[in-house]
């Protein structure tokens, strides 16, 4: 599309460029692997048709799995931060927002839901939606850990009022997280335009043409990305 592919004879070549490091992908999948059992064992206390799994001995097993998965869930970002503090700091900087993000949000519905090929403002390694998701996940992690630790160890230690609040907040965080997870899963495995995300998360690479199209600021650098964006916009305007 952007001249990144070269055809040699009849072979269609894709240039793969690295997007996620091995440790980043490991973090993502360990997070997934702890989050899913946490949700499943937590939902038994919430959804009525799962109630038999919460009762008696079964409920005890659910709690054990929940707590083991919780250790993984709590530990994994901390270990990441200890092993690669610079990389973690880089993520925080990546999660900064500017005017392009407002443009992205304005066009996102038409682009991702209706499939209209509009001109999107250039994005960094993470687009606005991914950044919002990332920020929400960090906040969710903090809330889950604080409320979860109180629920685990705080019974009879903290006041009943605080414990009640923690129960409520744990559930609210869970509801928000599950809703986000549903959308995240859809975008990753079912959305026709987003196929590249799953490939990147599995193998760590992205095709150069996809990166140029979707992550221009990261691929070209902010200055060139802006120029290309303005040119593209002009072309669309004159055409229209």
């Amino acid at each position: 599309m952007n001249g990144q592919e070269q055809t040699t004879g009849h072979v269609f070549q894709i240039h793969w460029i690295p997007k996620y490091t091995f440790v980043e992908r490991l973090l993502h999948w360990v997070h997934t692997l702890s989050f899913i059992p946490l949700v499943l064992t937590g939902l038994v206390l919430y959804l009525d048709f799962l109630k038999p799994l919460a009762q008696g001995e079964a409920g005890g097993w659910m709690r054990l799995v929940h707590r083991l998965a919780a250790l993984l869930f709590i530990g994994e970002p901390i270990i990441y931060g200890v092993l690669q503090p610079r990389r973690l700091w880089m993520h925080f900087k990546e999660f900064s927002f500017d005017r392009d993000d407002i443009g992205w949000i304005k066009n996102a519905f038409g682009y991702y839901v209706l499939g209209r090929h509009g001109v999107m403002p250039p994005q960094g390694r993470f687009n606005t939606g991914e950044k919002l998701n990332g920020v929400a996940m960090i906040l969710g992690w903090i809330l889950f850990v604080i409320t979860g630790v109180v629920l685990w160890l705080g019974k009879g230690v903290v006041s009943a009022d605080l414990f009640r609040l923690m129960v409520l907040l744990h559930d609210l965080t869970m509801i928000a997280a599950v809703c986000m997870f549903i959308v995240h899963l859809y975008l990753a495995v079912a959305h026709p335009l987003m196929w590249a995300g799953l490939v990147s998360m599995r193998f760590g690479v992205v095709s150069a043409s996809y990166a140029a199209e979707h992550h221009a600021k990261w691929y070209y650098g902010p200055k060139r990305a802006k120029e290309l964006y303005e040119a593209k916009k002009k072309a669309v305007l004159t055409k229209g």
């Binding site: 038994v44 008696g56 839901v113 009943a160 409520l168 559930d171 549903i182 959308v183 026709p192």
Partner: protein
């Protein structure tokens, strides 16, 4: 079904603790173990309710105008008309019977302990068998469910030698309590009151007290915890709507985008 209640006439209680013994004997609870007897500077024993002590006499030391006296209080589950423990229980181990008794079915309990935290009277107790895994069972007074199911009166009522305990239809218990109150007031107990008629949906455990509830260490105005209503009646239903809505929205989005985008055009 007619609501049942226990009437406890604290003006008659002599703190013989026969009810404590009868409760442990009938319900097969350990006499020691959980709360070791120790000198706390009071005749109180054991020091508090526990998984093995479902009722106990609390010795309140009270300094009135006529000097020191004890105010005895038979502690235990209040069997609220609006039981927060039942509503916060995720396993349905705690139930409110049609006649108002709040009972525990131990084999359903998974030991989450929410009831211990949501009870406005801090009554249910967890028997924790493993701190690490959280293996536990809750227990509390169930008005001797096995006896009362068979038209027998609770063990503590049966045994009380001071005739301070009564069991029967709640209306009758309220009537008897009011009558006793008149009697007490006529004899000069001006602060005498009936505790529990309208509290937390109406308690199943009614007290005739000769002093204000605070003197007994009872909350004057216990409330159903509002966080429990927020949690169970608002957040949980809305959460289900949000999750179901997310799934439907994603499905709809998928159908729309599949119609609007031809896969051949996708790079």
């Amino acid at each position: 079904m007619v609501r049942k209640a226990m009437l406890i006439d604290e003006s008659r209680c002599t703190a013989c603790r026969g009810c404590q013994v009868a409760c442990k004997q009938w319900n097969d609870l350990e006499g020691w173990g959980y709360s070791h007897t120790r000198n706390t500077g009071s005749y109180e024993n054991p020091p508090q309710l526990s998984p093995q002590t479902w009722t106990r006499i609390k010795f309140n030391e009270y300094e009135g105008s006529d000097g020191f006296r004890w105010l005895f209080l038979k502690e235990g589950c209040m069997h609220c008309g609006d039981p927060a423990c039942v509503h916060s229980c995720p396993t349905a181990a705690l139930k409110q019977q049609p006649d108002g008794r709040v009972t525990v079915q131990p084999d359903l309990c998974n030991g989450c302990g929410y009831c211990t935290q949501f009870c406005p009277f801090h009554v249910p107790r967890l028997e924790v068998s493993s701190l690490l895994t959280g293996q536990a069972k809750v227990s509390k007074c169930n008005f001797c469910q096995d006896r009362t199911d068979n038209n027998l009166i609770p063990a503590c009522v049966k045994t009380c030698p001071a005739q301070a305990l009564f069991w029967g239809d709640r209306d009758k218990m309220l009537g008897a309590g009011q009558k006793r109150l008149e009697n007490l007031r006529a004899r000069g107990f001006q602060n005498a009151n009936l505790y529990g008629e309208n509290l937390v949906g109406g308690l199943g455990r009614l007290y005739v007290l000769i002093e204000k509830p605070e003197a007994y260490g009872l909350p004057a105005d216990p409330k159903y915890p509002y966080l429990a209503s927020l949690w169970q009646d608002i957040v949980h239903p809305l959460g289900k709507v949000a999750m179901g809505g997310s799934i439907l929205a994603v499905l709809a989005a998928w159908l729309i985008i599949r119609r609007n985008i031809k896969m051949e055009e996708v790079e």
